[in-house]
Amino acid sequence: MKKTILFALIIMMVMPLAGLFAEGQKDSDAVVIGANIYSFQDGFMNAVMKPTLESYAAERGAEIQIVDSEGQQAILNNQVDIFITKGVDVLAINLVDPASAQAIIDKAKKADIPLVLFNKEAPTEVRNSVMASYDKVWYVGTDSAESGIIQGQMMVADWKARPEYDKNGDGKVQYVMLKGEPGHPDAEARTRESVKAFTDAGIGVEQLALEADPNWSVQHGADKMAAWLTSSFAKDIELVICNNDNMAFGAITAMKAAGVRLPIYSVDALEQALTHISEGELDGTVLNDGVNQAKATIDLAINAAMGKDVVEGTSWKLTSDGSKAVRVAYVGVTPANYMDFQ
């Protein structure tokens, strides 16, 4: 009896594997893309980038394998080695640690496989030299600072249009900030640029509190906002700035529980965010255009694998500043235009 159960279990576990092998043998002349996502736990990467990479690759007739780097650069390094020994035609890599760009480029160069980095870029100071070290590496992404700049511009426009935002009438913005992972280029850029928009517009700022969360999580937004709303500076808060949607979802829940409605802005434009905007609970978010980033990544990868000019036959433009990048623009999403994104 026990042996039968054990046998059945083993069969159940092996069957899907057999399916995988069978699948791997079709279409020998299709371009094979070896890709990763830095972490499947990242809501945005998992909800937007991954499905589009898969569907668009299929649409273009390419084969793509996407692995989860589990938030660890060491795991990604091993996965790249596996892809290289497996003989993929092109690599599409989402760095875990942007500072490790050189290591990945060196691996691709040694194996002479073209490489498209996406969504996470080498640090600005070394970017051009790193990208110049291999002729077959390109980058697809956004300009990290831009999401913060657009978020900031939305907030400044609303601040100027709605005098009631300035609760204490001192002409300065008293804000709290829900920040993402410290050291993450997007978190740092958004935190800096969103506030800079105010100072650039000649409006004074005062940070009442800032709490960062390595996981950018809903729970963080909920717990920290609830604590702030009971603090001595609760009545002074005029603006809630969130580095991403998830933390804003938590903060909105906390505000509802406390019966408070403060102006709140985030980044990502996930579907739940659009609903919050439609219900008047969120004042603005910024679309990180993952669909077009994923499409550009696939287009460049396929061209590179076929030895063509990477942007040939596409609408993408490479930058001319030495970063060898296709930059997909961010879009501000407000109560006025959110319907266009649903």
């Binding site: 729970q219 579907e271 739940q272 609903t275």
Partner: protein
């Protein structure tokens, strides 16, 4: 009267020391509160008190789950994934009918208890597997639950991605569900009421039932328990089943509490829960642990984290203080038990 004051104040140096050690964690909690209150007197308020209790509620329910396993000399690394699993299951079944991106677009509104039962059933199934693997193959729970942590993340992510809108955060919860979890009854937050009910039930199970006594016996010394006629395998599996029930309830509440669920929900909760148990005197060496210990441990962590956010202390310092407190609290606590042996 004089005997009472004698009892309170006339102690030898050693007795004072013992008193300090025995109540170390309570003293630490009050010291933290004192520091926070000195910095920000407004900390002493009903709103803060309510929030701390509310934020502790789900953590406490989860801590009870892993506490039983720790009493068996084990640990449960998969707790966080169970929370995510239960959260995603519950939220996907309890979205508003008019929400634009529903997980199940055509589904009718369910009674509130159905998703709760689904979440509990799902968690019980996988937690029972944990218990069976640990009891049957004598695999250390650290490894067995590590395996489950990874497996369950896969299962939960597949389910999460299978919804109609794709792997999107699951928001737009049914108003009845939000009200049940975030509402209040006679001025008391419902979450606190749930946590209180669960605490009472757990106290009865641990202290007044044969199963509870068997749990302590197996945790203290499995061989001795076996010799004296306790079914070790059954007790172990039941402890994991109870943990599954609590994880199911915790995840169901957590999704509505924070307002959105995704496959990352619950990530890292196991470490918070385990730390709270251990700080509350639920010893890794097994067989020891009280309901009041779990409550104290959970409250201590919530108070620290809430208090430090409240006074706006730089987060990097918060990490240092939390880390040191865990070690200090546990070493004081260990000393207490060493003495008794």
């Amino acid at each position: 009267m004089s005997t009472l004051t004698d009892k309170l104040f006339k102690r030898t140096k050693d007795e004072w020391k013992e008193l300090l050690i025995n109540n170390a964690i309570i003293i630490v909690i009050f010291a933290i509160i004192a520091v926070v209150v000195i910095r920000e007197p407004s900390f002493v308020s009903v709103a803060v008190f309510r929030n701390i209790l509310t934020q502790s509620s789900v953590r406490l329910i989860l801590a009870f789950g892993v506490a039983g396993i720790i009493i068996l000399q084990g640990t449960d690394l998969s707790l966080g994934r169970f929370v995510g699993f239960a959260s995603v299951l519950s939220a996907s079944l309890l979205q508003r009918p008019d929400y634009p991106s529903r997980f199940y677009p055509e589904m009718a509104q369910l009674p509130l208890f159905v998703p709760l039962l689904v979440a509990i059933a799902g968690c019980v199934l996988f937690s029972a597997i944990n218990g069976w693997v640990v009891a049957k193959f004598k695999i250390h729970p650290f490894l067995a639950t590590m395996g489950m942590m990874i497996t369950l993340y896969g299962i939960l992510s597949i389910y999460f991605a299978s919804g109609a809108p794709g792997p999107q955060p699951i928001g737009g919860h049914d108003e009845r569900y939000v009200q049940l979890v975030n509402g209040q009854t006679l001025g008391v937050p419902n979450l606190v009421i749930f946590a209180t009910i669960v605490s009472v039930i757990i106290w009865v199970i641990w202290n007044k039932t044969t199963f509870g006594k068997n749990m302590y016996a197996v945790g203290g010394n499995p061989e001795a328990a076996n010799v004296s006629g306790v079914n070790v395998m059954k007790t172990t599996i039941l402890v994991y089943v109870l943990a599954g029930v609590l994880y199911g309830i915790g995840g169901y509440l957590e999704a509505a509490r924070i307002g959105s669920a995704n496959n990352g929900t619950g990530f890292g909760y196991e470490l918070d829960a385990i730390a709270a148990c251990v700080v509350g005197g639920i010893s890794f060496s097994g067989g020891v642990g009280k309901v009041s210990g779990a409550i104290t441990g959970v409250l201590m962590f919530t108070i620290i984290s809430y208090g430090m956010t409240f006074i706006g202390l730089d987060q990097y310092y918060q990490y240092i203080i939390k880390g040191i407190l865990i070690v200090v609290a546990v070493s004081l606590d260990t000393k207490k038990y060493l003495k008794k042996v």
